[in-house]
Symmetry: C2
Subunit: 346 residues, 2 copies
């Protein structure tokens, strides 16, 4: 592969001049500029990003470590992050932690070894050593979705308390009183917050959240199934189950169906995180939707701000309730809406 030296030779100039042309440095004669671009063209030369990074100490690359790629919520997040990063002239390398702290650490160290300019993390746990180290070492960093209290890093997330309140109001209005939740891991902020928000909302209606109605999940489908089975085995099963993420809701649906029961007639179901597929499930699932695209965009902007020396602030965006049929009859009969999967095509 041709190097800058080859270009210099081909153009009959020094590597310094070639480099200047390549980087749009002002003090280069028109003649030299032309000769260099011609030589580049002839040789099909492309600058070696590795060498450039070594010299300039910046890779123009962002690392994104997410908890689970197979979760549509995170897939969409990753997509919007990449989009915004590209617009800002950065590439992104995605690491999938699969909800495992050890894998998360692996990716963090790998990314740091490659000297990425900044790190976007949605931590799987309360803080693995590798991650804490990275934060302390001064690598520009931003948390998305989940975060770790006590670590001084901007957080870009969505606040679901109002939406959860709306959800409880909706359920209460439908006559439901025994409401249960499938919680996420207590080590994650989203795991804890959603339970807290739910409990608080229930309290506003004079409802309790007994321990038996709090199932411990891990944000994966399997746990949703297991917890739901436990609920159904109760002497007095809940009337509605609220899953703290979409995968656990899926598992819950499975469990209900495996018993030959039906949603929402026998038991209602609601989920945190709305995804395109919830429109098409049987029945369509009532969910709390986060503004994922905006979250990704804001996270990248905050991180790039940090990288480029600007402050880089935390952002909290509200989530909102999307009522469908999985908890009982909706208020109004609307025509089916088109799938949100659709792109910009008219």
């Amino acid at each position: 592969m041709a190097s800058i030296k080859d270009v210099a030779a081909e153009a009959g100039l020094s590597v310094a001049t070639v480099s200047r042309v390549l980087n749009g440095h002002p003090s280069v004669s028109e003649d030299a500029r032309r000769r260099v671009t011609d030589a580049v063209e002839r040789l099909g030369y492309r600058p070696n990003a590795v060498a450039r990074s070594l010299r300039t100490d910046q890779t123009r690359t962002l690392g994104l470590v997410i908890s689970d790629v197979m979760n549509p919520y995170f897939t969409e997040l990753a997509r919007s992050v990449e989009e915004e990063a590209r617009a800002l002239g950065y590439s992104v390398i995605i690491g999938n932690a699969d909800e495992r702290p050890d894998l998360q650490d692996h990716h963090v160290t790998t990314l740091l070894d490659r000297r990425i300019d900044g790190l976007l993390v949605s931590p799987t746990d309360g803080g693995s050593p590798g991650m804490l180290g990275a934060a302390r070492a001064g690598t520009p960093m931003v948390f998305v979705d989940r975060w770790i209290p006590g670590v001084d890093v901007p957080v870009v997330r969505s606040d679901g308390t109002a939406a959860v309140r709306d959800l409880v109001a909706h359920l209460y209005g439908l006559g439901h009183r025994r409401l249960a939740i499938i919680a996420g891991p207590a080590a994650t902020t989203t795991g804890r917050e959603r339970v807290d928000a739910f409990r608080a909302a229930l309290a506003a209606y004079g409802l309790e959240l007994p321990d038996a109605y709090i199932g411990q999940g891990d944000f994966q489908a399997g746990s949703g199934r297991r917890v739901t089975e436990g609920f159904l085995d109760l002497a007095e099963p809940p009337e509605v189950v609220f899953a703290a993420d979409n995968l656990m809701a899926l598992g819950s649906l499975d469990a209900v169906r495996a018993r030959g029961l039906r949603v929402p007639d026998d038991i209602g179901l609601a989920a945190f995180d709305d995804i395109p597929w919830f429109v098409h499930t049987d029945p369509p699932v009532t969910a709390i939707a986060q503004p994922v695209r905006d979250l990704g965009r804001a996270a990248v902007r905050a991180l790039v701000d940090r990288i480029e020396g600007r402050p880089g602030e935390s952002v909290t965006l509200p989530a909102r309730l999307v009522v469908r049929r999985s908890c009982g009859e909706p208020e109004t009969e609307r025509p089916p809406s088109p799938s949100p999967v659709r792109r910009s095509t008219p």
Copy 2:
């Protein structure tokens, strides 16, 4: 951040010796080895992968350019690719082409600029200039899922002809005769092959595939909707629509529902690519499942073989039909099966 020089100073040795210890070179005294590891420990030193790559001319990184991350099929492919690559000591950088040749080219050049060791591509089109250039330039390369005829690169893919035959047999057995297809872009191999396989299978039953029953889609939900609307407007609409990927099937479902019609009573639906959500849609969708994990694994192995100087061969794995309820009554009434989303949890 500490460099190898700092380690050398701390250990009271030369950088050469430090490097040898780091790389497990045999001719290093036990004493030196200990002093170096101690120094590394004290300094929290991590080798700079950028510098290393520049010197050794290898990044131990694979590039993966896929057509659409939001498509669960590709998400799963990406996941299995990363998994296998990690097992083999490689990282992977994912580029999302979003079915756009220009974006695909952008990612290919970016990846090449970073001097990745090899490229895994599922081409969006018949071959964008950047990709063809990469193939010609001798970068180790392997096609996954889709490929480009005439380019001498191993292909790892799945063969759906048998499964499509099974599908048509299933539909024929259910009494359906007017069968339509929503095709993928003609520029992609999968776009063409699936139509061809479908036509051939129909022929085996003395059935035709009239032009009016071939809708041109682009593997995105929007086109599935549009094409299906066209089918429904026909004087004699098809009895079953076969979507060449899962996203278009989703769009098709939307369109049917938007008319107030029902699947499978008013019109049947089948899809290429099985995904976890098809179990939970209303109704569950009959689909052709590819062995995605195996595909990802095989692709990485072929690529790494190429990179490390071994031949690196093409692989074709069979797809299989998964019958559900979207085309009419299934043969047997089975208890609902658990969701395939489940991980290794028992």
